[in-house]
């Protein structure tokens, strides 16, 4: 392959990577509107007209597996609340603060945890997660709106919150982004087939199923040098 052609291919690949995997399309208008720089002004794929964001109220204890806008409003002091978020295995979760009305001074808090923590047990574990434990908790009372959008490192996340004053609360928008190489996954279902590719070296990955299941490993490749393969 000629070096010039290789350079052109690399340039095209870089341009495609810049789109971050999100689906875009080039809207070709009529010839009079032809724009030679249309590639650089590509728009995001349009949503269907009239498609509305899913909205509902969030409960003190909740599990959310779809995108949308969720509002929690305390009708009475709610001191121990948590909401679990889970997406598809090949997705990240992005939590965006739309509105937060809590009184941090009186003991309210709203914390996002990167993963799930249940009875003190964390998923992913500290050995598998890229961030240290202290960075996995993002406290709104500390960071405020400086970190308005928080993206998880895997397909699960959760929030802990406490609201003393009735009427206070918050609104979050939950969105998902594609994860090309999921590493730590919690499966939503007890059935299915999943392929986990560890794209990075020296990284621990895991796939968890919280149901009693039978697991069959059909393909396994662990290292090329040692020839550890299972077909």
């Amino acid at each position: 392959m000629a070096p010039t052609f290789k350079l052109q291919c690399h340039f095209i690949l870089i341009c495609l990577m810049a789109l971050r995997g999100e689906s875009r399309y080039l809207e070709l208008r009529e010839a009079v509107d032809h724009d030679p720089f249309l590639l650089f002004s590509a728009n995001l794929k349009r949503e269907l007209p009239g498609e509305q964001l899913y909205r509902r109220a969030m409960r003190c204890l909740d599990m959310l597996s779809l995108q949308g806008q969720f509002t929690f409003t305390a009708d009475r002091p709610q001191l121990h609340c948590a909401a679990f978020f889970i997406a598809e295995p090949e997705e990240f979760i992005t939590i965006h603060y739309e509105l937060v009305s809590i009184d941090c001074e009186s003991g309210d808090f709203l914390k996002v945890f990167d993963g799930w923590i249940l009875k003190g047990e964390k998923f992913p574990s500290s050995q598998d997660h890229p961030l240290p434990m202290t960075e996995r908790y993002i406290d709104f009372c500390e960071s405020g709106l400086s970190r308005r959008s928080i993206r998880s490192s895997q397909n699960v996340a959760m929030i802990f919150f406490r609201v003393h004053e009735p009427g206070n609360g918050f609104t979050l928008t939950i969105k998902t982004d594609p994860n090309l190489f999921p590493c730590n996954v919690i499966s939503q279902t007890p059935n299915g087939r999943f392929t986990l590719v560890v794209a990075h070296k020296h990284r621990n990955c895991s796939f968890s199923i919280i149901y009693p299941v039978v697991i069959k490993i059909s393909d396994l490749t662990l290292g090329h040098l040692n020839g550890l393969q299972l077909k």
Binding site: L61, S65, L66, H80, F109, L118
Partner: protein, 193 residues
């Protein structure tokens, strides 16, 4: 000869000893956080009415902070009869004609939340550094000792059994499928036009 006999006896003893049921779910009685509830936990079936609805004692679900368990103190504003009546509604999977899935899910979570504790004393001590930290954060800066103290605090977590976690996950998936069906129906309506 003796060693296999001793091993067999030990195995029999372990097998025949009464095992405590699943811990970290419930504890009866308004004991103010003196002992961990894992010693004598009891199971609560949220989808069946309580056998003794007259007793106002609620059975708390424990919120675990680090290694400490906090039991519920005092009583909630709502009477326990209301959540127990709500908990007696049919399960989410067989809500059928009487209740919508949303109502069943709301009843389930309401019943679950009624069991959540309202600890006072045990949470006061970790709450105070949280409040102080919040004040500093609102002031714009947080001192290094406060940050270190917060980092040393045990992680906040929720004591939820895998059984309940699966239940809420199934509800979330049912909601997701319902929303997907709604979107598909709208899409078909648009295409049909």
């Amino acid at each position: 000869m003796r060693l296999p006999l001793l091993v067999s006896a030990g195995v029999l003893l372990v097998a025949l000893l009464p095992c405590p049921p699943c811990r970290a779910l419930l504890s009866r009685g308004p004991v103010p956080g003196a002992r961990p509830a894992s010693q004598h936990p009891q199971r609560l079936d949220f989808f069946q009415p309580s056998p003794q609805p007259q007793q106002p004692q609620a059975r708390p679900v424990l919120l675990r902070m680090g290694e400490e368990y906090f039991l519920r103190l005092g009583s909630l504003n709502k009477s326990p009869a209301a959540p127990l009546a709500a908990a007696s509604s049919p399960p989410a999977g067989s809500s059928g004609s009487r209740l919508s899935p949303d109502e069943v899910a709301a009843n389930f979570f309401r019943a679950l939340l009624q069991q959540l504790p309202l600890p006072r004393r045990p949470l006061d001590s970790p709450a105070r550094p949280v409040e102080r930290g919040a004040e500093n954060a609102l002031g714009g800066r947080q001192e290094a000792p406060e940050r270190e103290r917060r980092a040393e605090e045990p992680p906040i977590s929720l004591d939820l059994t895998f059984h309940l976690l699966r239940e809420v996950l199934e509800m979330a998936r049912a909601e997701q499928l319902a929303q997907q069906a709604h979107s598909n129906r709208k899409l078909m309506e648009i295409i049909g036009k």
